[in-house]
């Protein structure tokens, strides 16, 4: 097999953790992830329980992070919202990566498919991401699954473009020629020789897409064209809190901080992965 060092490399975690910023990011993201997964057990209250008496109670009183306009506990909502926001980010990253790899491999490997697929990728990438996502959600409807589908359509071309570029280089390398001479089929060359060598750039890009998709979801929810407003996400929380910005800034402060921490840590992890997986790419960008 012709793979260079990939994710199985035992030194990966160690080299990731060698950079203090990446280590901190890994810890922060693990905490956010754990909070989201454990929300039903660690949340102090149900995210939907209303209490008239608690309306807009400020933070650090009876409620650690305050209560919203319906008297719902902000901390509990924040924890549950994290589940949805992270799920949308992860779902988008997984689907767009899987589909992007198939399209990118096809474009890079089969010369006949290259021109039409590449032009299609160019055309998809001409639409600004939020705008295309808005249009897709408008047409498909605002369920969590449809938001994931819409964002996956938006981000698939990015993966496809990277996979195509890498495949174009790899398919000319001697070991691919050798495999072909030994009678390997196209499918097995792609699976056993090309795919292992594009794992690094794809993993890095998937991490960034995870981050972008979370930002985009927040943007869609803020605009009121994302998931159903009754589902708490960090974006819908900011959108709801907006009306009370003069009395209760904390309603938008905490979800905003949560998104920023999640996205920042993912971006730092992506940068760290890029440096660790492919030292040739480790530039100071």
């Amino acid at each position: 097999m012709a793979a260079v060092s990939t994710a199985e490399d035992p030194g990966l975690l160690r080299s990731l953790a060698a950079r203090p910023a990446v280590l901190v990011a890994l810890i922060v993201f693990s905490i956010i992830l754990a909070c989201a997964i454990l929300a039903p057990w660690i949340a102090p209250a149900s995210p939907a329980r209303m209490s008239v008496r608690a309306r807009l109670s400020p933070p650090f009183g009876d409620y650690l992070l305050g209560a919203d306009a319906f008297g719902r506990d902000v901390l509990s909502r924040l924890l549950y919202a994290g589940r949805v926001s992270l799920l949308i980010g992860l779902g988008t990253a997984v689907i767009s990566t899987a589909v992007g790899i198939v399209i990118g491999l096809a474009a890079g490997f089969f010369r006949r498919l290259d021109a039409p697929l590449s032009r299609l990728i160019d055309a998809m990438m001409a639409f600004p991401d939020i705008l295309l996502a808005i249009a897709l959600v408008a047409v498909l409807g605002g369920s969590i699954a449809n938001v994931v589908l819409a964002l996956s359509i938006v981000y698939t071309p990015r993966i496809a473009r990277i996979v195509r570029a890498a495949t174009l280089v790899i398919r000319e390398l001697p070991f691919v020629e050798a495999a072909r001479a030994l009678g390997s089929s196209n499918l097995s060359i792609m699976a056993w020789h090309v795919l292992p060598n594009i794992v690094s750039p794809v993993t890095v890009q998937a991490t960034f897409i995870f981050a972008y998709a979370m930002l985009a979801e927040a943007g869609l929810s803020f605009l009121g064209v994302g998931v159903d407003p009754s589902i708490p996400t960090w974006g819908t929380m900011i959108n709801e809190g907006r009306q009370y910005i003069d009395q209760a800034l904390y309603l938008i402060l905490f979800p905003g901080i949560a998104i920023s921490f999640a996205v920042l840590s993912l971006q730092l992890i992506g940068d760290g992965l890029r440096d660790a997986l492919d030292p040739r790419l480790a530039k100071d960008v």
């Binding site: 910023a21 032009r119 299609l120 160019d122 055309a123 998809m124 990438m125 001409a126 639409f127 600004p128 991401d129 939020i130 705008l131 295309l132 808005i134 249009a135 897709l136 959600v137 408008a138 047409v139 498909l140 409807g141 981050a211 930002l215 927040a218 943007g219 803020f222 605009l223 009121g224 064209v225 974006g235 900011i238 907006r242 910005i245 003069d246 800034l249 938008i252 402060l253 905003g256 998104i259 920023s260 996205v263 920042l264 971006q267 730092l268 940068d271 530039k283 100071d284 960008v285």
Partner: protein, 313 residues
Amino acid sequence: MRNYILKRLFGMVVVVFLVLTIAFVLVRLAPGDPAALMLGPDATPADTAALRARLGLDQPILIQYVTFIGHALRGDLGRSLFFNEPVLSVLAHRAEPTAFLALFSLLFSVAIAVPIGIFVAYRRGTVADQTAVSGAMLAASVPSFWTGLILQRWLATDLGWFPASGYGGPDASFLDRMGYLILPSFVLGIVNSALILRFCRASMLDVLGEDYIRTARSKGMSESRVVLRHALKNAAIPIVTVIGLTFALLVSGAVVTERVFNIPGMGNLVVGAVLRRDYPVIQGTLIVVATLYILINLGVDLLYLLIDRRVRY
């Protein structure tokens, strides 16, 4: 070179054609009848049938496609269901604030990012450098609408330095209207400056390591002259590319920022169109924005020819 330009123009025509096709398919992805969706649950079957006929949805799909492309090529992107006006004229009425918002925020982000990027590339590895790089990453991680809401509350509502929202009344002068865009442009500019700063710093670092920079220094040329005359000129290409690419970011950001500051631009129009199920407006905006993006990137590529004499296609 003429061949290159012709090839690029041909490629552009193909991509614009695909953009039109995607916009055509997109509206038809709707589960069920688009006409029924647009009119909402209260519509009578007769209304729905009338709208289907008006939009040509009763025709075979191939005829619909050919008609759509034919109209689009003549600049007819259909009529808005809500405004009952041609989509292009609805968009044209909303273009001014969006165009100036995008332009000002681009100017803000270039003014912030390019000098800082050059400076920290020159002082690579110092505290200033690390601060700038981390700051850029943070700016790219914070949702722009969130920054917008916080700055709006602080600088406009509390301190009263800027108008909090809107775009002046119908009688507002041009300068008044532009005054409403200062804070929104700044907010959007911060987000975009992150990308420009990272690119600017990286391309300066590449250039500063080149032999001709060492030669210039050994000739006894002053440092400011080395950086500004020799290095910046050669680092300009990647910087110009990224400025072209941020157009898409600017438009996405403008959609959200207009909502925060309640600016009656194309972003607010699209969001309103989604809530009103005004599909022709959504479709038209996508087509116009994507075509602009394609034209701007073509312009950027051609600009290379002017900036760098070494580039020969």
